[in-house]
Symmetry: C2
Subunit: 331 residues, 2 copies
């Protein structure tokens, strides 16, 4: 019997607060360009006070991936923590409206930590610099994991950012055990090179022991498996997991499986905001995988989905991804 879910994602449930800015703004306000920085409540308030008018769009890395897979019509669920507040309403609405299940009980209205948000500063070169106030999403722990849901998933998709949370290691372990125990497979995204540095051994152990599919970009790959060349790092990763999918920016993505590596070409027509490019690559790739497509097709689907997301502001799909795949002859 088919499992209820093709992909279940676990990660930081965040609402993105997106605003354009000049490079000088980043320098003036101590924001490191192009990466994710965790910030506390005071810093979040200070930075928000300095930044320009913004738009709010549901975000969160794994949540973006699950939204993309749901938009493609696959059976998905998402696990992440929000509060019973207005941003929590927005996050929950957008996830369910996209067709994904989202059943995690929300922390009550009188809880201290609010729904998390990520201030996304987009510079004129379309690069994004992320400033994340985790809020209640930080507290995702084993109690939030429903083993029955994990057992009913073909694939788990774990967000590397969650390695920053002590309780989440146990949550991931519980989810992996339930999923694998029922014959499911597990994927992880490395999320960020600095996150990899912070938790190198934990990533290494999990990848070696449990991971079937590894998502990353070239910078995260270099942090995870340092080597003289990207090819060597990919080979190193591929000796530990069944599939490696490593995005390489404007060149596209390498996909390695069973001793063979292919390069799927990038598919962006215009670049406005690279927020969510990696998340949507994973969405397209997993869509191909659960529909039994070959590695090159999975990689190309990933690149087309990533190309859609960087063409507009925000990391949730706006165009019909399935129609884009058809245009490209992929479905």
């Amino acid at each position: 019997m088919a499992k209820k879910y093709q992909v279940v994602g676990i990660g930081n449930a965040l609402v993105d607060v997106l605003a354009p800015c000049e490079d000088q703004f980043l320098a003036d306000n101590g924001v490191e360009k192009g990466i994710m920085q965790l910030i506390d409540t005071a810093r979040a308030s200070e930075l928000y006070g300095m930044m320009g008018p913004a738009k709010e769009v549901s975000g969160g890395s794994a949540a973006n991936t699950i939204a993309g897979i749901a938009a493609l019509g696959d059976r998905t669920a998402y696990v992440g923590k929000v509060k019973a507040d207005q941003l929590g309403d927005i996050f929950e609405h957008d996830m369910r409206a996209q067709g994904a299940d989202f059943e995690v009980p929300r922390s009550p209205a009188d809880a201290v930590d609010e729904t998390g948000r990520c201030m996304v500063l987009v510079t004129p070169d379309s690069e994004r610099s992320l400033n994340t106030y985790l809020g209640v999403s930080e507290h995702l722990g084993p109690d939030d994991i429903d083993p029955a849901m994990m057992a009913d998933a073909e694939w788990l998709y774990l967000e590397g950012y969650r390695f920053d949370g002590e309780l989440s290691h146990a949550a991931f372990a519980k989810a992996i055990a339930a999923c694998k125990g029922a014959g499911g497979k597990v994927s992880v995204t490395l999320s960020d090179p600095f996150c990899v540095d912070r938790h190198h051994q934990a990533f290494r152990d999990m990848i070696r022991d449990h991971i079937d599919l590894l998502f990353c970009n070239e910078h995260e790959m270099a942090a995870m498996y340092p080597a003289d060349t990207l090819e060597e790092s990919i080979a190193e990763a591929a000796s530990r997991v069944e599939i490696v999918a490593c995005t390489v920016g404007a060149k596209g993505a390498y996909v390695a499986r069973g001793g063979e590596t292919v390069l799927a070409p990038a598919e962006a027509s215009k670049v406005m905001d690279v927020t969510g490019a990696g998340d949507l690559f994973a969405a397209g790739f997993l869509h191909g995988l659960v529909n039994r497509r070959d590695m090159m097709t999975c990689g190309r689907m990933g690149c087309v989905a990533a190309g859609e997301i960087i063409g507009h502001i925000g990391a949730r799909p706006e165009a019909d991804l399935g129609a884009l795949f058809k245009e490209k002859g992929l479905e």
Copy 2:
């Protein structure tokens, strides 16, 4: 001595919740196309549950106008009510970050009515259908009006939608008295033809007794001064106020003053979402007016600002309006 504010706007403080939808969705869910409908909490919840993933952008008709004027570097303030909740934070941030003053005390976190929101459903023809849950913005009353601020304004800009609120008639009267008593002038926008029908006599009395500049579109004009032709309606309006600015969609806008009427041509390059077109027309027009430009230039500035806003999702400016004016030889 120059007044502190060139334009002070008063209206419904709302956060827009924008989502694309098909025409069938409007029909299935009893949404009237192209107009504004007031909805209660239960209906807001029901409709939000049915609609697709959305983006949140600060809105509110007069607030959009003030944001546009502030973006052009003029001295502005906005008066409208929000609650001390997350959507209130967003509204306040976006207004101040744009450079407008916003000092109205927020209703406390334990108040029943939340910050208002407007569900904006955008159909494939780029038309928008507005479903407004007013929340706390409905309670804007005389106590929210600071006479010193009104006396320090060259122009007041009043949002016709507020005629739906009993207390707001008294708030408008208080603001007008303070502004005019100090030599200021008063403009109003008719906002919506059905709103005009609901409060026809109140609009008539206010226009006759207090208004110097009337903003409307052709449908609102026909509701306000019914006649066989638009020209006759405009003439009727022009006999009562100093300036009439009436937008006529893709044709542009008629501006009538002192027995002379000019047509400023529309300036849209692409149309994605007409939300806020009228609001930004008023912003461009008032920017021209407070900078002592002739009527044709004011009208053209209005059309350029409206053209910017309909080229993207959301009713707050994204491009540099001043730079657009320069490109068109207007500044």
